[in-house]
């Protein structure tokens, strides 16, 4: 029974210690900053080192802890007019941190969302000012050296940081960058139309270029073919001439009896003519059909008139 009581006392004591610790002590984590207020008045300086700290319990003292790390902020995706009257919709992201928690706490009632609202307002203001003094070619350019991203980002950051420092907001803007750039919807449609137009130019170029090249190839082939055939015909004529010349060498032989030669030539010509599928009509006087007139028949011959 006694042991049980000791255990109970020990555990109870631990619980009491924990409760007291929760009331009188607080921890500040690494990368946290804390502001302690006594009856609502901040106690300077803010705590930036991690560790265990003591305080009077509420409502005498209160502890406000803030994230000391770099926090992200992204402003609204807003439309801006450029120096060359083009419009762009842009958003920037920014990294900011609480540089002086003691200054930060009273300015924004310890509320990070309140600080972000204020910071976003400054960001949009600076962004509009910087963007409107640049042209579209500073944002989009086929020559990367003409892009001015870094310069514009630095200008916006400097402008915002100047305001933060002047008013001692306890905030430091660590970095900033353009996250997204887009064209307004109506301009986007125009860009699409232009892109389609460019494609149509290329399509027609390809189409008629192909037809042109095909025609050239066909025409060249026809010319070469014609040249080849005509050359062959010329060669053939020449060969035939040579043949006739050669054949003419034997003509003097026919001069030995020109009448017979002519007669035989005529026979050759006639034979060639008759070789065709022709219909021939002869009368009885054509040799050898004249034989029909002199052949005796069984028919009674007409007695000659006495």
């Amino acid at each position: 029974m006694k042991n049980r009581n000791i255990v109970s006392i020990l555990i109870g004591a631990v619980i009491v210690v924990i409760v007291l610790m929760l009331l009188f002590a607080f921890q500040v984590r690494y990368a946290q900053v804390a502001v302690v207020t006594t009856f609502g008045k901040p106690v300077h300086p803010a705590i930036t080192q991690p560790g265990l700290y003591f305080k009077w319990p509420w409502p005498i003292q209160r502890v406000y802890k803030f994230d000391g790390r770099i926090q992200n902020l992204e402003d609204k995706f807003s439309e801006n007019i450029l120096h060359d009257n083009n419009n762009l919709i842009l958003t920037v992201y920014a990294g900011w941190k609480i540089s002086d928690a003691a200054a930060f706490y009273p300015k924004f009632a310890g509320s990070v969302p309140n600080a972000e609202v204020a910071l976003e307002g400054m960001l949009r203001n600076a962004k509009s000012a910087v963007v409107s003094s640049n042209t579209l070619s500073a944002f989009v350019n086929p020559d990367p050296s003409q892009l001015r991203f870094e310069q514009m980002e630095q200008q916006i950051q400097d402008a915002v940081q100047a305001q933060l420092s002047t008013n001692n907001y306890g905030i430091q803007l660590v970095f900033l960058g353009f996250k997204k750039i887009e064209l307004p919807q109506s301009v986007t449609q125009s860009v699409f139309d232009r892109m389609k137009g460019e494609r149509q130019v290329i399509i027609n170029s390809e189409k008629y270029e192909g037809q042109k090249e095909a025609t050239i190839i066909t025409s060249t082939a026809n010319r070469i073919a014609s040249e080849t055939v005509n050359q062959a015909k010329a060669t053939a004529t020449q060969i035939m001439g040579e043949g006739q010349a050669k054949a003419a060498e034997v003509l003097p032989i026919f001069e030995k009896d020109p009448a017979l030669a002519n007669y035989l030539l005529r026979l050759d010509a006639l034979q060639q003519a008759l070789n065709q599928k022709t219909t021939l009509i002869f009368d009885e006087r054509t040799p050898p059909f004249d034989l029909f007139t002199s052949i005796p028949t069984n028919a009674p011959s007409v007695a000659p008139a006495q």
Partner: protein, 622 residues
């Protein structure tokens, strides 16, 4: 004392409805979510007290009726009156039985529906709430809820004591709800005061807790309804009211937890579980057990197990003192030491320019929207194709000049990375993943803004992934993200969907061009080959003719030389023979008409036209 019970129930009822209406009014003025929860709870309390009071009245009527009947029986002895049926004599009892049989289960079902709907409505209101608490009315509202709490607490506490002393089962539910209503009003007042004191989420937290409590009460009501079906019924044993919530009873009187548990077990099992040795042991040592459990819980925080692929940062009073690798580690108990774990070896992904579709498509086409892709601005040379056009094509030129010299492109870039420095990852930036996504997106925007779209769509993409990986890694290092990029892919880069079809047509046109050229080349090959063949044939034919000419004339000359002596020997016969030989030979296949003219006056007409076939099928093979 017994007679005070119905009055007490009636007072509970009057108070419940009054506080319910008042809480509703205050809540609508101050826009408190916790107030909404309190109003819902008080509304349920009103219904329970109403039913409790009504049931109590019925039982009281039944009791009076029974006394009256007993009195009559004593004074008049046996009478025809008692020979009549029960339903005619005991009207009040009959009413009470009907009430128990039909109304109570029906009311319990209705109560469950209201509780469940109340929990759901409150939870949804918290998610959708955009109106903050009206600051100027916060103090007054908190004070009013404080007053509600005080009144409900006094009445509820008194009522609970009366119910316990008289063991009145019907007063118990209403008194529990009234007393629990007091605590609900207390927490509502604290929530509103918390908002006023600079804790804007206090109202939400309390409302969320109320929603959970309502859900638990609804679950309990449903469970009670189900158990009622299977509960063993002992004749003469009086049952608990179905609408009584043990959970609310515990909330109202936490000290009665064990008693309630014992009653519940006794009630459900039908014997005195609370008198068993185990239950008694548990009851006597409960505090000790709770303390030991707390101690064990505290001791369990001295050991931490870091899983494979994880790293943990060990903080001692908030100061990071070590990075723990996978395995078991000992540390000081909470709240001295604390370990924060990170999946350092896990390959993590982020996506630039798209969000992966959950409905995975098997075919991804440029012309079909997919993966919720975004458009990026990309540079374009004021189209060289357009520049080369003649002024007559003003339409295209006009269009080109109207739109800014930029194009749009869609890129899907998955980035895979792993955490290499957990300290940087955890402590330099508050939302490192989001910042990393912003940096990567910025680099992609920056890169595309300086690239020509046509080059990017062709050869440039191979260099782009490597270049982007280098640049994003540099940026990540500069911002101390503590990550190593293991992969950057340009898995899907194409013109936006509205113009994708036109880009595909270009490819079609290029193919058509190639097809036309190849067709012409094929024709040219045919033409050239045929011409060469024809030329060859022509020259060969000429050569053959020459050969024939030469040979035939030489042969004829030789023949002629031999014919001359034959001719000279018989000139006339030779010629005739030659003629008839030729004639017979030449005309042997020809059709011949021989006219033996006897009358020279006759005129013969020959139709020598070729005969035309009547039908091709009617071929006459002659």
């Amino acid at each position: 004392m017994e007679r005070n019970v119905p009055k007490n129930a009636l007072f509970n009822l009057a108070l419940a409805i009054a506080v319910f209406i008042a809480a509703l009014a205050v809540t609508s003025l101050v826009n408190s979510l916790a107030g909404e929860g309190a109003a819902i709870f008080l509304g349920i309390a009103f219904l329970v007290t109403l039913t409790s009071w009504f049931q109590m009245k019925l039982e009281e009527n039944e009791r009076l009726e029974r006394l009256e009947v007993e009195e009559l029986a004593r004074t008049r002895g046996e009478s025809a009156l008692f020979e009549s049926k029960d339903s005619e004599v005991f009207a009040a009892r009959r009413s009470r039985e009907q009430f128990d049989k039909f109304y109570i289960p029906g009311f319990a079902v209705l109560l469950f529906v209201i509780e469940a709907l109340g929990a759901w409505f409150l939870w949804r209101s918290i998610d959708k709430s955009t109106t903050p608490i009206v600051d100027m009315r916060a103090t007054a509202s908190a004070a009013l809820f404080g007053i509600f709490m005080l009144i409900l607490f006094l009445v509820g506490r008194f009522s609970v004591t009366i119910a316990r002393l008289q063991d009145n089962r019907l007063l118990r539910p209403s008194s529990s709800f009234v007393l629990a209503g007091a605590y609900v009003c207390l927490f509502t007042a604290l929530a509103i005061a918390g908002v006023k004191a600079g804790f804007p989420r206090a109202d939400v937290w309390v409302a969320r807790a109320f929603s959970v409590v309502l859900g638990l009460i609804a679950a309990e009501t449903l469970l009670t309804l189900l158990l009622e079906i299977y509960r063993p019924r002992v004749r003469g044993k009086i049952s608990r009211p179905l609408y009584e919530s043990r959970f609310v009873g515990i909330l109202a009187q936490p000290e009665s937890l064990l008693t309630t548990a014992a009653q519940t077990l006794d009630y459900q099992f039908g014997f005195k579980v609370s008198e068993t040795w185990f239950f008694k042991l548990l009851k006597e040592n409960l505090f000790m057990l709770l303390l030991v459990q707390f101690a064990v819980l505290l001791l369990s925080t001295c050991v931490v197990f870091v899983d494979a692929g994880e790293q943990g940062i060990l903080e001692h009073f908030g100061k990071p003192i070590d990075v723990l690798d996978a395995g078991a580690h000992f540390k000081w108990p909470w709240p001295i030491d604390h370990v924060y774990r990170y999946r350092t070896e896990q390959i993590q992904s982020l996506y630039v320019g798209y969000q992966p579709d959950t409905n995975e498509e098997h075919v991804v086409l440029w012309t079909v929207p997919h993966n919720q892709e975004q458009n990026f601005l990309v540079a374009t040379h004021v189209s060289t194709a357009v520049e080369n056009e003649t002024p007559e094509e003003g339409n295209v030129m006009e269009q080109a000049l109207k739109a800014p010299p930029v194009s749009l492109i869609t890129v899907s870039i998955p980035i895979q990375f792993e955490i290499t420095n957990v300290m940087d990852w955890a402590y330099v930036n508050s939302d490192t993943t989001n910042l990393f996504a912003s940096l990567a997106t910025r680099q992609v925007v920056r890169y595309l803004a300086g690239e020509d779209i046509d080059e990017l769509l062709s050869s440039g993409r191979f260099d782009a992934a490597r270049l982007l990986q280098d640049r994003i890694q540099e940026d990540a290092n500069a911002h101390q993200l503590g990550v190593k990029i293991v992969f950057v892919g340009l898995q899907d880069i194409h013109p936006p969907t509205p113009v994708a079809a036109d880009y595909e047509k270009v490819i079609g046109a290029q193919q058509s061009k190639l097809a036309a050229i190849l067709s012409a080349q094929a024709d040219a090959i045919e033409t050239n080959a045929l011409s060469l063949a024809e030329a060859f044939t022509t020259t060969n034919l000429a050569a053959a003719s020459r050969f024939q000419l030469e040979k035939s004339w030489y042969a004829r000359a030789a023949l002629f030389t031999n014919q001359i002596p034959a001719f000279e020997a018989a000139p006339s016969v030779y010629k005739q023979r030659a003629y008839y030989t030729m004639f017979a030979d030449a005309t042997k296949n020809n059709r011949k008409y021989i006219l033996l003219v006897t009358n020279t006056q006759d005129v013969m007409v020959f139709d020598l036209q070729d005969k035309i076939r009547a039908d091709l099928l009617n071929v006459n093979p002659e």
